[in-house]
Amino acid sequence: MKQTIFTIQENKQLTTTTWRMKLSGDTSDIKSAGQFVNIKLDGYFLRRPISVCDLEGDILTIIYKVLGQGTEEMTQFSIGKKLDVLTGLGNGYDLSLSGERPVLIGGGVGIPPLYLAAKKLIADGKKVTAVLGYNASDEIYYVDEFKDLGCEVIVATLDGSVGKKGFVTDALKELKGEDCGYTYFYTCGPEPMLKAVYNVTKTSGQLSFEERMGCGFGVCMGCSCKTVSGYKRICKEGPVLKKEELLW
């Protein structure tokens, strides 16, 4: 973990509720896709934990959804504003287990950490499929960005306005090929989606969880969960847990 001051380079609206922020600063402590940063906002006591979407040199990209007053206020931040950020938090995805054809399954604001995972997997020569789920067409973002990386992208919308109608798990069933069409999965999204993915996937995989956090670096025990190997902190041993660790 490092505490660093970052400078906002971009704060751009992607959809009605989703924004992308690019920040420049010391990113040296960010080691893997799936890790998160914890951002201090003036006037709010607790920091805002947000997953790392992309990393290019000293530029950190995050994507955030407006969920409360803090994130609402973030949409008003101007380029040049300085933010106090804790970086390098949590355990990210272990990409060494992906096999040759991993599938990335993201739902809504759970999609961003999969972008950096996709980038690294493709750089490693893997054939990557991204199944991206949204509620409706006006919430869609980053489909082209995943395609530009070289991923095969399957979109699912709950209202059927774009792509497959239904959940990411409905789209997942479309995957064809030898075996089940993928060698391993990486996922992030709301917990009911994670549970559904856990139940339908035919391979092993890793799931990234969300929880209300106090500190974000492992001392307050605010975000604990039970696993087959004892109690884990979502912020420290997580947010990524392996399928085999879960008690579902």
Partner: protein
């Protein structure tokens, strides 16, 4: 050179800064980020007889200038604390640590204190009496002078280490509890634990915390804590550790002027992991600014010449 040393129940500490229980793990977690030997000491995570997972999540809710927690005393149990956590701490911390003890019955307090009494690393036992008494209708030990007093009496029988009783502020008259503890033999009093509160998510109409209610901490509670430290320090003769929303070296000075001999630093550690170190570093500078050469000279100075009604 400003002198920051104070004596806490017979043990001299380099400075009065004590990260509060529950905000500092078992210390070694924080030692990843800085050398924790700069602290006076710290109070480790509340420890019970058996391992506890604690309450369901969400356990955390944000508040204006503070937070609620309903962690529910998650800890690995005293045996593992002694066999695993404290040896890990010993590799990064050379000083005596304050052991925070919780229990849901007098027997449990006695068991945990007896176990920790044998550990050389432990300098003080800080006994948290805010927990509900499972044999006493679920009321917290700390809300009743008689029950508080019996915890002290029984614990004192099994340890020679100083026993500091940590009081809950969720009572009508905190000084009566403090006096009962002192009379039963407590070597010190620490206060305040968190104030009971709740939040509701207006999108769903449901409480934010799975446990419905939780303890409020952070700068929001500082004036309440300061007032109670003032009242208790005036009433008792044993040392008082003041805590509740302390976030700066100035807050430390204020707590000591109210009557605290040492000062706990809690919630701010969670939002600024370096907060306790920074307070230790700033303390001599703030002392110099206000012309304070020795911290002992300011303990309780706000009490002097004031008739408190």
């Amino acid at each position: 050179m400003a002198d920051t040393k104070v004596r806490l129940c017979g043990i001299e500490i380099d400075n009065p800064i004590i990260p509060a229980s529950g905000t500092f793990g078992y210390g070694y977690e924080m030692a990843e980020y800085y050398d924790i030997n700069c602290l006076g000491t710290f109070s480790f995570k509340g420890t019970t007889k058996d391992p506890r997972f604690g309450n369901e999540t969400p356990r955390i809710a944000e508040c204006p200038a503070g937070m609620l927690n309903s962690v529910g005393l998650q800890n690995p149990g005293v045996d593992k604390v002694v066999s695993e956590e404290l040896p890990k701490l010993a590799t990064v911390f050379d000083k005596k640590v304050m052991a925070n003890v919780s229990g849901f019955s007098i027997d449990e307090y006695v068991h945990v204190c007896e176990r920790l009494d044998k550990v050389d690393q432990v300098g003080w036992l800080e006994v948290n009496i805010s927990c509900p008494n499972v044999h006493g209708g679920g009321m917290s030990f700390g809300t009743n002078p008689r029950q508080a007093s019996s915890v002290v009496t029984e614990v004192k029988k099994v340890t020679t280490k100083p026993v500091i009783i940590k009081l809950t502020p969720n009572v009508t008259d905190i000084t009566s509890i403090a006096l009962a503890c002192e009379e039963a033999g407590a070597d010190g009093i620490s206060l305040i634990n968190t104030l009971l509160g709740m939040r509701i998510d207006i999108k769903t109409g449901k409480p934010v915390l799975a446990n419905i209610m939780g303890g409020l901490s952070g700068p929001a509670i500082f004036p309440v804590a300061l007032r109670m430290v003032y009242q208790v320090a005036k009433a008792v003769n044993v040392p008082v550790i003041g805590m509740g929303g302390v976030s700066s070296a100035e807050d430390v000075i204020e707590m000591m002027m109210a009557g605290a001999t040492a000062v706990g630093v809690g919630a701010v550690n969670l939002v600024n992991p370096f907060a306790s170190r920074d307070i230790v570093n700033n303390l001599p500078l703030v002392m110099e600014k206000y012309g304070i050469e020795n911290l002992n000279s300011i303990i309780g100075m706000s009490q002097e010449g004031i008739q408190y009604g």
